[in-house]
């Protein structure tokens, strides 16, 4: 068994090596073109020349997407004029998919490493860790491969990106509402703080003059590295949360809710205040800040954050949070300082809400305070409810379902459709959201526990398809 595992992994390593070798070598397109496009036909065919020229131009611009787009068109339109031998075909294949093959190779390497590890280390906990590692690797390389196959602008990737971000937002809200039993509706406010902090510090100086057009370029004239800005976004949100928590956390359930809601609205007003214009650009759009172009980024960031939250919840502090949720008096009698722990939960949740806000800003490519209304908070709250109060994997799962159905699966409900001449009734703009909110009401009324209740995915249920979400948690 052991020997078999090791041999298998060695074979895999070889395969990976082969893939990597080809993917790297196949990267010089212009020479490849000269081989496959015969000169004389070039002379005759204007269109062909143009197509080849465009490819070379886009190579010069180093515009990956454009290059691939033009290459694909060349191969479609002039398939008859191009002659390639097997090797050229192979090269071309590797050129067109070289990201994919590289990612695949990488995954194979990890897999073989895992195989060896599992062969050598027998203990239960190591085995678990290995499975986890493989699953994570599978998730991320999977995302990367899919992205390069379907293109990063496809609806699927859009949904995945937004879903990952909402997952973080939902989990951070769940930490507060589900695990600590504090009914806070301030999420949107803290997201706003995060989004603005991030945006303000990463707008590139060149376009500041144009973004802050009414405030002659604004005050901030430098930019921070993305990661620093993101963490700063979290810290800013956490700081405000700390200040707000001091008075508010002494309030009881629904008074707390309405007070936090109020604070969110106040924050929104402050950020729109003209007097702060040089920093916040008043009520106008912030844009031209650094954004992400691959889904891996949001997945990585929110993955790490969710993992941290999960660790916190399963730590001794997390247990105290749950104790407070279940019975404040008893918790206090067990020597748990209510205020300190509530404050801790509130600040932590807001920290991650802030980071989520920053990611959302990156996803939207523009931020505006006006968008962060209480409706946004409600949306996330409903995700948490659907996923199940007090279940991380539930929130993650629910976020992806929520985003997918609102952005994608239910879209068709918004378009007037004809079957032959028969006009399908009811279908028209806005119907999607109606169906959607009906579903939500159904969940709230009849499946009060949500998808997961307060359970989590366990390693035993490995067959669960979307377990990727939880694995990161």
């Amino acid at each position: 068994m052991k020997a078999f595992k090791i041999i298998l992994s060695l074979l895999l390593v070889v395969l990976a090596g082969f893939l990597i070798f080809y993917s790297i070598n196949a990267s010089d397109l212009s020479t490849l073109l000269e081989d496959i496009v015969p000169q004389e036909t070039m002379q005759q065919d204007k269109g062909l020349q143009k197509a080849v020229k465009r490819i070379n131009d886009s190579l010069a611009e180093a515009n990956q997407d454009k290059t691939l787009r033009s290459l694909n068109r060349l191969l479609e339109d002039f398939s008859d004029k191009i002659q390639m031998d097997a090797e050229a075909k192979l090269d071309l294949f590797f050129y067109r998919n070289n990201k994919v093959t590289l990612a695949f190779a990488l995954f194979i390497l990890i897999l073989s490493a895992a195989l060896i590890a599992s062969a050598l280390l027998k203990q239960q906990k190591y085995q678990k860790a290995i499975i986890m590692a493989v699953l994570i690797a599978m998730l991320y390389s999977g995302i990367y491969i899919v992205e390069n196959l379907v293109g990063s602008n496809s609806m699927l990737m859009t949904v995945l990106k937004k879903g990952a971000i909402y997952a973080l937002l939902a989990v951070s809200m769940n930490l507060l509402n589900g695990f600590t039993g504090l009914f806070s509706l301030g999420q949107a406010g803290f997201m706003l703080i995060g989004a603005y902090t991030y945006a303000i510090f990463t707008i590139d100086p060149a376009s500041r003059a144009q973004v802050y057009q009414y405030y002659d370029g604004g005050l901030v004239q430098f930019t921070l590295p993305v990661m620093v800005a993101i963490i700063l976004a979290g810290l800013a949100a956490a700081f405000f949360a700390f200040l707000i928590g001091l008075p508010v956390l002494r309030l009881k359930s629904d008074y707390l809710a309405i007070a936090t809601l109020g604070f969110a609205e106040i924050i929104r007003a402050i950020f729109q205040y003209d007097g702060l214009g040089p920093i916040t650009n008043g009520s106008n759009l912030l844009r031209k800040f650094t954004t992400f172009n691959t889904a891996l980024f949001p997945f990585a960031v929110s993955g790490i954050c969710i993992a941290l939250i999960a660790l916190l919840i399963n730590s001794t502090y997390g247990r105290s949070f749950k104790a407070i949720r279940d019975d404040e008096v008893a918790a206090e009698a067990m020597g748990i300082n209510l205020f300190v722990h509530k404050q801790l939960a509130f600040v932590t949740s807001s920290f991650f809400a802030g980071i989520g806000g920053a990611l959302l800003a990156m996803y939207q490519t523009t931020v505006q305070a006006a968008a962060f209304t209480s409706a946004m908070t409600y949306e996330i709250l409903l995700i948490v409810v659907i996923g199940g109060m007090g279940s991380i994997s539930g929130s993650v799962l629910a976020s992806f379902l929520f985003v997918a159905s609102s952005e994608w699966w239910l879209r068709f409900l918004d378009n007037v459709t004809y079957i032959g001449t028969f006009k399908v009734p009811l279908l028209r703009s806005g119907f999607r959201m109606v169906v959607f909110s009906v579903i939500i009401m159904a969940v709230v009324l009849f499946y009060r526990k949500g998808i997961m209740g307060d359970k989590e995915f366990s390693l035993k249920r490995l067959l669960e398809p979307r377990k990727g979400g939880k694995r990161r948690g």
Binding site: Q368, A371, S429
Partner: protein, 394 residues
């Protein structure tokens, strides 16, 4: 017997689909990125109507390798900057060769980066804020810009009402409102006037306070370049509060919504716009005639136009926008995004709203605006004058 009937029925259903099956070289998708709901919904719908009419007039485009059918794909950006990106994303992912829109500058700015990432050329139709094209290589536009419009209106305020004090009212965070108000104030102050400016948050319905402070500020004109939803409230409340100060506004107010709200009141409302229904130019006259006819034979379209057949300037612009898009396709001689991106800058077109050619920013070289005034008896627009940069400069 039943079987037979059902068979007939099925055939009947199939017929139209067969009728469609003509032989085209292919299909080219043009995306319509417009608000159909929200504060700008009314205007967005009128602009969209213009586009659809144009498509009805010219349903196909002829390229060197055959005649292509033009398919219009429409998304609703809900006039909100945070809904905009996913709407834009949808157009990109549904393979639009070129995108038209939007009514309202904010949503256009918000979507610019998405279109840019997708490599799709977008042609702004009535988004007048400079930011739309500034720093967005793939965003073009066929209307004039706010600095120009603002100046025009400032001069009009000065010449017509010889005003020295103005009050501007804009929606908080709406790039169109804020921008236009900003340029108006700048121009007005250069002309030696003074301006008091205020902004109201989205969802405001009580404007009496603002109108009162307008009166208290002693303004001789109120400049309120808001979206139609708020416009109608401002007008009704101004009437209710017996405001007599003349009201000025930008192109958004050129809408039957305004006329309805102002009907029977004694307010003086003047608006700058792209196009005048009464334009006697051959192309324009023909367009107006055709468009009215097209509207009137379909109640749904009529409803989308606000329940009447008054031709809004944005409809005319929408029409031109579509035609420009076709020109771009012809010039690029393909439906490929990159081909279009390479050549679109050279497109020129003699539209119903005037001659259209792009400058280095991708903005249309426009030098004249129509100014019209509401006639509250007949609920229609009266043409006042054509104002162009040249008259201003002197």
């Amino acid at each position: 017997m039943k079987k037979f009937l059902s068979l007939i029925l099925i055939l009947a259903m199939l017929l139209p689909t067969m009728a469609l099956a003509e032989d085209y070289a292919g299909e080219i998708v043009i995306g319509i990125y417009e608000p159909a709901s929200g504060p700008n919904g009314a205007g967005g719908k009128q602009e969209t109507l213009g586009i659809y009419y144009a498509n009805y007039v010219a349903p196909t485009v002829e390229l060197s390798d055959g005649v292509y059918k033009v398919k219009l794909v429409e998304v609703d950006n809900q006039s909100s900057n945070d809904k905009a990106p996913s709407a834009a994303q949808q157009l990109v992912s549904e393979g639009s060769s070129i995108v038209l829109g939007s009514y309202g500058s904010g949503v256009s700015i918000a979507a610019a980066d998405i279109f840019d990432a997708g490599g799709v050329v977008a042609i702004g139709i009535s988004c007048t804020n400079p930011q739309v094209t500034l720093g967005n290589p793939l965003y073009y536009r066929i209307c004039y810009l706010d600095p120009f419009q603002g100046t025009v209106l400032a001069n009009f305020a000065k010449d017509e009402f010889n005003a020295t004090k103005a009050y501007t009212l804009a929606q908080l965070g709406n790039d169109y409102d804020v921008g236009l108000a900003h340029y108006f104030s700048k121009a007005f102050e250069e002309l030696g006037g003074e301006v008091k400016g205020e902004e109201f948050p989205l969802g405001t319905s009580d404007f009496t306070a603002y109108l009162t402070s307008a009166v208290n500020s002693g303004a001789e004109v109120i400049f309120a370049p808001t979206s139609t939803e708020f416009a109608s409230q401002i007008i009704t409340q101004a009437a209710a509060n017996g405001i007599t100060i003349p009201i000025l506004a930008g192109d958004t107010w050129d809408s039957s919504v305004i006329l309805k709200a102002a009907e029977g009141t004694d307010l003086s409302i003047s608006v700058s716009t792209f196009f005048d229904e009464g334009d006697t130019g051959a192309a324009a006259a023909e367009f107006v005639k055709g468009f009215k006819a097209w509207l009137n034979d379909n109640p749904e379209k009529l409803a989308n136009n606000g329940g009447n057949d008054i031709v809004a300037a944005v409809s005319a612009l929408g029409y031109d926008g579509y035609m420009v898009a076709l020109e771009a396709l012809k010039l690029a001689d393909s439906g490929d995004r990159d081909d279009i991106a390479d050549t679109v800058a050279e497109v020129t077109y003699e539209g119903v709203t005037g001659f259209i050619a792009f400058d280095e920013n991708g903005d249309a070289k426009r030098d004249q605006a129509f100014i019209i005034k509401s006639d509250n008896e007949t609920a229609s627009w009266k043409f006042v004058k054509v104002q162009s940069v040249s008259d201003i400069s002197k």
